[in-house]
Amino acid sequence: MSTTETIPSPDQTIGDPNAPVVSFEHVSIGFDGHSVLVNISFQARSGEMVIILGPAGCGKSVLLKLANGLIQPDAGRIQLFGLDINNLSQEALFDLRSHVGMVFQESALFDSLSVRDNVSYRMLEQGDNEEDINRRVLECLRFVELEHAIEKFPDELSGGMRRRVAIARAIITQPQLFLYDSPTGGLDPITSATIIELVMKQRDVYESTALLVTHRLQDAFTLATHRFNLKENRMERIENDGVDPNTTIMVLKDGRIAFTGSLVDLLRSKDPYIQEYLA
């Protein structure tokens, strides 16, 4: 990893600073008569990372889209920064989303825009000045080690590079909350490790709040048992087989929460489903 650059901190906060950054209360949603998520309740406090594990099709991505207000729940209440997003107008919701960075499963880069324009999209929309934009784009691309790809288009990038550009796009305005939808999905183990290291760097260096969805147990284990060493600019295992206190693991089964707790609790769980899942 290269030297860490200073990405500007958010110059404004939103909602209630004492409230959890994300809060789900008895949230349910279904499509075409089928329940996808049932009675989901959890919270993510400032600086906390919630890793949502589960097999494919158990509603993990839907949960992230609900958290960002991209879809509305059939029942229950979702709060972001203490604001009830079900009751917000579309305009207010768009403003609120500027405090949230989302990395999509397939990157969802704008394929007709260059890497530079993709990364700077949010700043361009805000009408920031050219000098600021150029500086921050370079900082973010340096963060994900993709400075050399600034003029390329998404179809010229590999899957891992696209995922890194998506991370750079999400962090450009240093939002208060990150939503990662399977950031390592479909990537080889080495590229996956690089992506997880970037997620960890974001978590430990900037102490940002995050929800991370994955079906890879290895990602959850690495994030829970490692921390980012800024001095050496690489991730390292936490001493004495410790776990990160701000990382919580949540396991979904058929749209319901089957487990919530730390990695240690997960490994000690006697629940047959969890044991089967870990096997």
Partner: protein, 255 residues
Amino acid sequence: MEIGEFLREKVLAVQEYSLLSWTAITNVFRRPFYWVDLYTQADLIGVGSVPIVILTGFFTGGVLALNSATTLAQFGAKAVTGQLVSLSMVKELGPVLTGLMVSGRNASGMASELGSMQVTEQIDAMRALGTDPLKKLVTPRIISTVVMLVFLTIISDALGVAGGGWISSGLGINASQYFHMAYQTLEYPDVLEGLVKPLIFGFIIASVGCSFGMTTRGGTQGVGRSTTQAVVVSSVLIIFSDFLISRLTISIFGR
């Protein structure tokens, strides 16, 4: 699929289309306004369609003159060819054919572009980045199609009358007489009808194209389906609304 389910789906699709259209219209009065996107779309839709509109208008006017002059000659009324060509072009064929050509070119383009963005989560990404896709993608397309279709129709009308004149002169009709008849026969209600139609057709093309694009499901196959449906639906709606506008104009102006 049960008939109840089928009807429910259709009603939901109409509701979704109406909501999208209404929001896109009201967005005209809300900030931010995407001027760059508006100019880009106006260039793509308007300037980009000029060649096909010129060719269609010119040859339609020509074939109209060819057929009418031959028929009218049997009654010794070949001289009124200009009148027939100009009325047909300005009131009906200019707006309808331009609408259909632009529909084939741009409703499909909008449906496939927005459909591809939808299935690759780019629309969701745009919303997640705090941009309203209806404001950025749909409203500029609707405004530019409505405005540009009016100008394209005027070009088509002019080229149609010119094409008719070119053929007529080949059939022995005096060019001055042709153009004099073509000009004299037009009255304000005819011109008004010919200019109101592209406003409605432009709205139909862009709103239907964008609506099918934004509601695309089912990967690349879904994009293909949306594209086809957008052209079919917008073309049928253009012809249907053409009938309604013509009927309305006749009941108001009597011609």
